[in-house]
Amino acid sequence: MDLIWQGIKSAFFLIFSGNKEIYEIILLTLKVSGIAVIVSMVFGMPIGLLVGLNNFKSKRFVITIINTGMGLPPVAAGLFISLMLWRSGPLGIIGIMYTPSAMIIAQVLIASPIIAGVTLAAVQQINPKLKLQALSLGANKIQVLWILLKEAKLPALAAVMAGFGGVISEVGAVMMVGGNLKGQTRVLTTAIVQNVRMGDFDVAIALVIILLILTFMVNLFLTLVQQRENKTGIKDSGNNRA
């Protein structure tokens, strides 16, 4: 019990003392996961939209692949990216193994199916007749995708949250392809593992608290945006009906 209490006290000291190493770790974590989520949105959302809105022969098969991807074990993603980027691997020549770039690629592989899957589920909730209505108003294919994505924007934010939550808390893949190099590829999760291994529980607890706060803040922001959007509709109905 004393160990935990001591750990929590040190944790707060570490957080507020302006420890440079800690802040570097936080910044790198946000950078890697932030870029990974943005890139995953670029891949995942259009895939989710196209699969969700169109009917084609192998649709079920493609959905199954996406759903499997959502549950992809991070270590599998890590292993795959390692094999690709290893010096003698097919992409070894670009020399980015054990760099933040490699970590971003691994996280994109993890987050893209999550974002695609949640987007797909979101657009399938939209009334399919809205697509017909947009077409009959004269919309081209891109305008149809855009208007329906806007229609699904609240659930789409959930996709971003799910993607971000998936990668920021992930340790296996970033450890494998990043290597947890101090000052270069050390992020919150890998640092936590390292400190627990060394018995530095106070630092580990501090880092966990920071990780939780970060995740909370990002999700709080997205939730506020989501609920504000949602509220607009409800507020209208309440105030104006009379």
């Binding site: 007749k129 017909l132 209208d236």
Partner: protein, 346 residues
């Protein structure tokens, strides 16, 4: 080969029961579905098949569906959405915008989110969104079907005012014959995916081509019989299972042919039986006993047993004046020109 057409500035009403293929037809014309067979021409150009720029064709039309299908943005943005998709300048539409929001009574709703509107209000927005595009062909797929009775009548009047004023070529799908009666220039009656009858409104209402059409356009009495005599454009029909004959005006008829006589209920006049039928110019007069009187709102539906079932629509005033009630004997008369004959069941 069956075909349907409409002309510029005319309103073609397609009526038929639910699930008969009316809405599919609208989606086919709007190129939202592809036909398995058959062709569609628009402005003399074939628009079905390969090599057609569907978006260009759709931009000449606009559709209002049964559901309002509004997007999650303000009413104002919803109304302008089609203009944006079509790359049209919003500034040039101020006059029609003001006219439509005023006529459709949605001026005060422009900032609202459609989710906060009633069904009728939402459909008004959907109509404005379609009408502001000033399409060459307006497609209306039962736009009033999902609206409660009270709002429906009001919206129907507003919509029909706009359609008449705009003189726009319109295809209007409905299962409500009253709507068809008010607004149609041409009517097509569809049954199970086939055209039962297509022609000018009066022709379809007055001269239904089949029992299905007759029932659909409001004929309540259908009497089977065979032609007993044809002379001077008047046809005497022997009613099957009754000792009475019925007279109908017809262009031609062959003796012995099986026919069905159709009578609209508003054409059946009822008399207190003290009136002598000899004093009437109507060729058909039948003694009968009232079986049932149903209240239809404006009219009362009176069913009379004359050896066959005859239906008449009368007002409450007539019910009271003649003392009509079930069991009462009455004289029912119909002019021969109001009896329409169709080929009978073989």
């Amino acid at each position: 080969m069956e075909h349907l057409f409409t002309e510029e500035n005319k309103i073609l009403v397609i009526i038929g029961s639910n699930g008969c293929g009316k809405s599919t037809l609208i989606r086919l014309i709007n190129l939202l579905e592809s036909p398995d067979c058959g062709r569609i021409y628009f402005n003399d150009k074939l628009i079905t098949g390969n090599g057609v720029d569907k978006i260009m064709v759709r931009k000449e039309m606009s559709t209002v569906f049964q559901e309002p299908l509004l997007f999650n943005t303000s009413v104002y943005n919803n109304i302008l959405m089609g203009l944006e998709f079509r790359g049209k300048k919003i500034s040039g539409t101020k006059e029609i915008f003001d006219y439509l929001v005023d006529k459709l009574k949605i001026k005060d709703l422009l900032k609202r989110n459609p989710k906060s509107l009633s069904g009728g209000e939402q459909q008004r927005v959907a109509l404005a969104r379609a009408l502001i595009l000033e399409p060459k062909l307006l497609l209306l797929d039962e736009p009033l079907a999902n609206i409660d009775q009270l709002s429906r009548e009001e919206l129907r009047n507003d919509l029909f005012d706009i359609l008449r004023a705009a003189g726009r070529s319109t295809i209007y799908v409905t299962h409500d014959r009253n709507e068809a009666m008010i607004i149609a220039d041409l009517i097509a009656v569809i049954n199970e995916g086939r055209i039962e009858q297509f022609g000018p409104k009066d022709e379809v209402f007055r001269k239904p081509a089949s029992e299905f059409v007759a029932k659909f356009v409001g004929v309540e009495t259908l009497i089977e019989g065979s032609v007993a005599e044809f002379k001077d454009n008047v046809c005497r029909i022997r009613i099957q299972g009754s000792k009475n004959d019925i007279f109908a005006v017809a262009a031609s008829a062959r003796q012995g042919t099986k026919v069905t006589a159709a009578i609209r209920p508003e054409d059946v006049i009822l008399y207190n039986i003290e009136v002598n039928p000899e004093f009437s110019s109507a060729m058909n007069s039948f003694m009968g006993e009232i079986i049932e009187i149903q209240d239809l709102g404006i009219f009362k539906k009176v069913e009379i047993d004359c050896g066959f079932k005859l239906v008449s629509f009368v007002t409450q005033n007539s019910i009271e004046r003649l003392g009509l009630a079930p069991g009462k004997k009455v004289l029912a008369s119909v002019k021969a020109s109001s009896v329409h004959i169709m080929a009978g069941r073989q």
